[in-house]
């Protein structure tokens, strides 16, 4: 039987709930369990109400569940806000010496553990996090082995005292939980032991994308901090020495994109990442990359707008923006991964495509995908990644005449690319309309030919198009349509619908531009219901499908409250639609 458990940790910002959640996620991954962990946080460093959810299962999971089995309440507010989510067997862990709570009134079991006191007795109130983790695994009967191993690895370098205190705090927390279990018999009805399989790997969406960039040889990264893309900047900086990357924090997003353009012009593979507001500032540079035919990769991690919106939450409202942003017309590629694994392979693909067509490529993610941790089905495989730079070789350059034409007219629209300083050939790029050499022109003939040359590349990009993937029954009458980060939640909802005997399949887009019109038309025609699922208010994909295929998507399940869809909600809503 499928076994699974959801733990939710709630409290104020700064109380350590992310630490507790992260450590728990790691311990269960290490023990071979599939884990999905997501954060729901406010835009503040201290106070407020934040939660961290960890779903643990013995089978692959890609989304959050509505079940709440174990609630770790670090403050009273958590109990108040989440009490209604508890079921009869749920367990609430809290520190009764710190938080006064009224008797639960039947629902769920309250377990008070003096986490703060144990921490102080072990030497430092900060150890309360370790006590909380230990108590949780203690109640679940998970054993202390992985936690001790974890503490040794993390605190081993910080000196004997810190490590010793942590180990002691873990042991005390664990023993206290065991004592409660013995005293009260079935204190916690859930038991999880490490599985007899190899350790699983946890990865967030942002880490998947960043690793894809590193694998593809991104050698220059610049960015301006902005949620939810800041931790791509942090991640790249943390791997800069290992992978030989120049990482620079720009003064603004305008500088960030102009920097990656400059580094790419000088021959490096480059990336920058931002969110909607930062992307606004980048649109000028995006156009520059289009005109100068400079390959760049931009990660656009969406969050709810307009303006500052809900800065720490999620939305998919920039699909239209990503495909249309900037002045003028030029080809671009827009990819939308649904998991960290897709993020890894698609980002590597983005680097090849950017250089093949000398275009900007946008990776469209969102806060939900960016920040959530997923269990990888299998380790990322760099052997599946090819590096195709499409640059003129030293040999080709040595055989070329002295006069190099950066924007030479060719049958494909792609001009052979050289790098300044690499040979005696001069490389000249211009944001003005230019002739084949790169010099400013004004005449209509050259202008028309250069426009045609640039746009021709878009036709050629057809050959590399990634059509949307179909999941479930190929011939199903009802088709769920989704793109990007909703892959996991839609997939789970579809699986549940299958279990109920429903005739439904799912179409998921990972490439949204150039739009795979032909493939989509073939797949979507002759279905009873087309149901588009989008984390936005207007149904941008639904309208894009209509525009590009003529097919009307009549059913739209939209949500723009800043939160990701839940499986339960999708399951119920789709069921209502298809009857």
């Amino acid at each position: 039987m499928n076994k699974e458990l959801t733990i939710k940790i709630g409290g104020e910002a700064g109380q350590g709930l992310v630490t507790i959640g992260t450590v728990l996620s790691n311990l269960f991954s290490r023990g071979g369990w599939y884990v999905f962990a997501s954060q729901d946080y406010e835009s503040r460093i201290r106070g407020g109400h934040n939660i961290y959810q960890v779903r643990i299962a013995d089978h692959p999971i890609w989304a959050m569940s509505e079940r709440l089995d174990v609630l770790i309440a670090l403050d009273r507010e958590t109990l108040r806000l989440h009490f209604s989510e508890l079921h009869d067997k749920s367990v609430v862990i809290y520190d009764g010496e710190k938080i006064q709570v009224a008797p639960p009134g039947g629902k769920a079991k309250l377990i008070s553990l003096p986490m703060d006191r144990i921490a102080r007795e072990c030497g430092d109130p900060i150890l309360a996090n370790t006590v909380a983790v230990a108590a949780t695994v203690g109640l679940l009967g998970y054993g202390l082995g992985y936690l001790e191993e974890y503490l040794r690895r993390v605190f081993g370098k910080k000196g004997d005292r810190v490590l010793k205190e942590n180990i002691q705090a873990a042991q005390r927390g664990y023993e206290e939980a065991e004592r409660i279990c013995q005293r009260e018999g079935e204190a916690c009805p859930f038991k999880l032991r490490p599985l007899d399989v190899s350790a699983k790997i946890l990865l967030s969406g942002n880490e998947g994308v960043a690793l894809g960039a590193l694998a593809a040889g991104c050698k220059f990264y610049s960015g301006y901090p902005m949620t939810p893309s800041t931790n791509i900047l942090t991640y790249m900086a943390s791997k800069a020495d290992q992978f030989g990357v120049v990482v620079e924090q720009a003064e603004d997003e305008i500088a960030a994109i102009n920097m990656v353009i400059g580094a790419s012009f000088a021959g490096a593979r480059v990336m920058t990442a931002t969110s909607g507001g930062g992307f606004d500032l980048m649109t000028e540079g995006l156009s520059l990359a289009g005109m100068t035919e400079t390959p760049i990769v931009i990660v656009l991690g969406q969050r709810p707008g307009p303006a500052t919106g809900l800065p720490t939450r999620t939305e998919q409202a920039e699909l239209r923006y990503a495909i249309h942003a900037s002045h003028g017309e030029f080809p671009r590629l827009v990819l939308a991964p649904g998991t960290p694994e897709q993020g890894f392979y698609l980002t590597a693909h983005a680097f090849n495509q950017a250089e093949k067509y000398q275009i900007p490529v946008i990776i469209l993610t969102d806060q939900y995908l960016a920040d959530s941790y997923f269990t990888l089905d299998r380790p990322l495989d760099p052997q599946k990644i090819t590096i195709d730079r499409y640059l003129l070789s030293e040999d080709e350059l040595s055989r070329m005449s002295d006069e190099y034409r950066r924007y030479a007219f060719t049958s494909t629209g792609i001009s052979p690319r050289a790098i300044p300083g690499q040979s005696r050939h001069l490389v000249m790029a211009d944001s003005d309309e230019h002739d084949e050499f790169g010099h400013i022109i004004e005449d209509r003939q050259t202008r028309s030919r250069q426009v045609a040359k640039r746009m021709k590349k878009e036709q050629m990009m057809e050959q590399d198009i990634l059509p949307p993937n179909i999941y479930g029954h190929l011939k199903a009458k009802n088709m769920i349509i989704c793109w990007g980060s909703t892959w996991g939640v839609a997939h789970e909802a579809m699986t549940r619908l299958h279990d109920e005997g429903k005739d439904v399949a799912m179409l998921h887009f990972t490439q949204v531009w150039p739009f795979p019109s032909r493939q989509v038309k073939d797949v979507l025609k002759d279905r009873d219901e087309l149901i588009c699922i989008e984390n936005n208010a207007s149904g941008q994909m639904a309208s894009l499908i209509r525009e590009k295929t003529g097919l009307a998507v009549d059913q739209k399940i939209l949500q723009a409250d800043g939160r990701p869809f839940s499986v339960q909600y999708l399951f119920e809503t789709i069921q209502e639609v298809i009857g």
């Binding site: 350790a199 120049v246 500088a255 000088a266 520059l288 380790p379 790029a429």
Partner: protein
Amino acid sequence: MLSREEYHSGVKEAWCPGCGNFGILNAEKRALVELQLAPEKILIVSGIGQAGKFPHYLRCNFFNGLHGRALPVALAAKLANPELTVIVHNGDGDCYGEGGNHFIHTIRRNPDITCIVHNNKVYGLTKGQASPTSDKGFKTKVQPYGVIHEPLNPLALAISLDCSFVARGYVGDLQFLAELIKAGIQHKGFALIDILQPCPTFNRVNTFRWYEERVYHLEEDREFDPKNQLKAFHKALEWGERIPLGVFYLHPKPTMEEQIPALAAGPLYRQKIQPSKVLDIMEELSALS
């Protein structure tokens, strides 16, 4: 031996007759010949405005980017390939107005690039509006009663940021300007050369004659020491009756590219790409999780 002709691009200049830009082009060619820098080793990055057209008229690699955005492009190109001699040509509106933020922060980074600003104290390409360096009272169609804002003082600003080389040139003094450009290129670190130039079309105040009556060489002041930041700042405030030319401030220090570990292995385009290194991360992660 590289001759002056090696730097001629053959492209016809689209500047007004009598434009100060011709002087800058001449001086720069002179400096390049003296330095014997091969055109393929030079990268000129420019913005938009009359100065932005500059690299089209000089044989070299170039990236003629956007208005105000030359510096971030130049900075990153230098980081990607420190073997290139990177020179930036931009105007006063370009560098100090639209690109003001980049100007401040590129100075802080101290990359080894030379930033040449064609400062004619007026917007030329858009036909005569005030620029950030226009003096108070300067009348235009947009400022009919004269400019009421304080002018931006690029030298004082750069010195306050401890810019490693700060100089002012003047197109009416070509040999001196060529020497300044040469010194700026040779200087290891960010070199700002603000060049005063009349705009014969849109600036009827700051003319050749106006400048001739005022400019003098800093070297004439025997007391002056360009290594003293406070004195340099004080000097940079001098404007009006007398206008100093030359190197105001000099503070050699490590360049940005010298301090980046990844660049020890040479230009980025020559560095090997190794996707297999991801396996190390996978190993770390499975041990970590």
